[in-house]
């Protein structure tokens, strides 16, 4: 890492490119951060800006789950009661997640029975299951995950305050938040195999490699580039964060966070894909569609 150069995107040609994309697409806010393992260089554009985390928060939750496994409180084969009933951090009242918001019904259909931690972790990341996420937060404990993130030095730029679909917390502005720089630290911890153990980090990456939503970062890459990533989208934000493994070179970590007016939905994923494409071109010197 001796030659590492931590340049801001605002110091290199990408700044103008990202700003231009943001303005053309009509995004309210864009945050980008990357780190390239090939050149040991990185940069960020509004990397310290806070965004609503949406489902990107599921990666820090995954880290918290593996923290509990590392501590011996769980293992991947542990069984968890699937129950759609959670307690709001806002007022301690109960709430349920909406089955329609999960991409597949596997977790919802298992209500009353148990699923293994590894199944829930996979559904949380691969199909972004909100029910799986809340079950894992519930069984590990919100405070325990928060403590794990602090101990790993990830609390700067990642604020986990609640489970997902906690509407009463949302109404009181209690939300999970991230910065691009903060999420980049999470990704690098995993890619560097420093998330507890090399094996635990590898297992997290394996789960992230199985991501089914491919319209963000992967859509801006050559087909042979592998990506371990997690997307996130609600009415006002669309994000993607992951590690890109191009053919024939070392990987790079990339976080793209975007914020929009609620009615401006058309260009969100295309904007993330285009930023991904330009970052790829900048780092490899090759066009993504070559």
């Amino acid at each position: 890492m001796g030659n590492r150069k931590q340049a801001g995107l605002d110091e290199d040609p990408l700044r103008a490119s990202v700003r231009s994309l943001k303005e053309t697409a009509g995004a309210s806010k864009v945050g980008v951060a990357y780190y390239d393992y090939e050149t040991c260089t990185g940069g960020s554009y509004f990397g310290a800006e806070w965004f609503h985390a949406a489902s990107i928060i599921k990666v820090p939750v995954l880290v918290g789950v593996f923290g509990a496994i590392h501590a011996g409180e769980l293992d991947l084969k542990s069984r968890v009661h699937v129950r759609n009933r959670f307690i709001s951090v806002a007022d301690r009242t109960s709430f349920r997640v909406d089955a329609a918001r999960d991409a597949n019904s596997a977790v919802y259909d298992a209500r009353g029975r148990t699923m293994r931690v590894e199944e829930l972790a996979t559904h949380m990341i691969v199909t972004s299951s909100n029910l799986a996420t809340n079950l894992l937060i519930d069984v590990v404990g919100l405070e325990k995950i928060q403590a794990t993130l602090r101990e790993l030095g990830l609390a700067d730029g990642v604020e986990l305050k609640r489970g997902v679909e906690d509407e009463r917390a949302f109404e009181r502005d209690i939300n999970n938040r991230i910065t691009a720089d903060g999420m980049l630290r999470v990704l690098r911890l995993i890619e560097d195999r420093r998330a507890f153990t090399a094996d635990a980090s590898h297992q997290m990456l394996e789960i992230m490699h199985r991501q089914e939503f491919r319209s963000g970062i992967p859509a801006g890459l050559p087909e042979d580039a592998r990506v371990a990533h997690k997307t996130g989208e609600i009415s006002t934000v669309a994000h993607d964060a992951g590690i890109v493994y191009p053919q024939g070179r070392k990987p790079y970590a990339l976080v793209v966070l975007t914020e929009w007016e609620a009615d401006r939905t058309a260009k969100r994923k295309a904007t993330i894909a285009e930023i991904s494409r330009r970052i790829y071109g900048h780092l490899t010197g090759e066009p993504a569609d070559a």
């Binding site: 542990s78 069984r79 009661h81 129950r83 009242t93 109960s94 009353g112 029975r113 148990t114 069984v139």
Partner: protein, 225 residues
């Protein structure tokens, strides 16, 4: 038919690790302030497979009241012996009535049958710790997660058996909103020729009330689901 080969063990004679987890015959104070003794006698299953193969009632097997998740003590989740208080057979018999009335499967949820006093959901004693409660999440194709379904099946259960205590629909303590809680009280069963729950055979005294604290009948005391 219920399996007559089922083994009964005295919890006080189990190895120390199991005694620490099951706390047989130990007096505990319940939410209503009364002191009750935890069950002392258990059915013993040498393995999960044996629990899956053992009938407690024609349509209820032992595993259905033993299915727990990671919140239960590790000793009761590993391959090895499983223990179920004798009251579970009484509960299974009552559930059988509901099964026959409904004409379809009655599903007990994970963590919804017996929970040891070491279970993470056992902050305060409930009939689940006596093997005398069941959380039903589905009857046939009916999910019991609405006021209408919980109220309807709760009414049917009460009509079938005076032993059944049903928690009403609601979102506060002593209510349920995503399953139907049925219990038959803090029932303890003592086999013939065996001493009572306490090792010395004496019943605990409730200091606050000066009465016998070993209430074995459904008394409507508040509990959680």
């Amino acid at each position: 038919m219920p399996d007559v080969r089922i083994r009964v063990v005295d919890g006080l004679k189990l190895p120390p690790g199991y005694r620490e987890v099951l706390r047989p015959g130990e007096p505990v104070r319940c939410r209503d302030g009364r002191v009750r003794r935890l069950p002392r006698y258990f059915y013993e299953f040498s393995s999960w497979d044996e629990a899956k193969a053992t009938d407690l009632a024609p349509d209820f097997r032992a595993w259905e009241l033993l299915d727990v998740d990671v919140r239960e003590h590790a000793l009761l989740r590993m391959d090895g012996p499983r223990y179920l208080p004798l009251a579970a057979a009484l509960l299974a018999g009552q559930l059988q009535l509901l099964r026959e009335r409904a004409g379809t499967l009655v599903h007990v949820s994970a963590n919804g049958g017996y929970r040891s006093p070491s279970h993470r959901l056992s902050d305060e004693p409930t009939p689940h710790n006596w093997g005398a409660a069941a959380n039903l999440y589905r009857v046939g194709d009916d999910w019991l997660d609405s006021e209408a379904a919980i109220t309807e099946y709760g009414r049917k259960a009460r009509e079938l058996s005076p032993l059944f205590r049903v928690l009403p629909y609601g979102r506060t303590a002593g209510q349920t909103d995503d399953h139907l809680h049925l219990d038959v009280g803090f029932v303890t069963v003592v086999p013939h020729g065996r001493p009572e729950e306490g090792e010395d055979g004496e019943l605990p005294r409730d200091e606050a009330r000066g009465d016998d604290g070993n209430g074995g009948a459904a008394d409507g005391a508040g509990d959680e689901a």
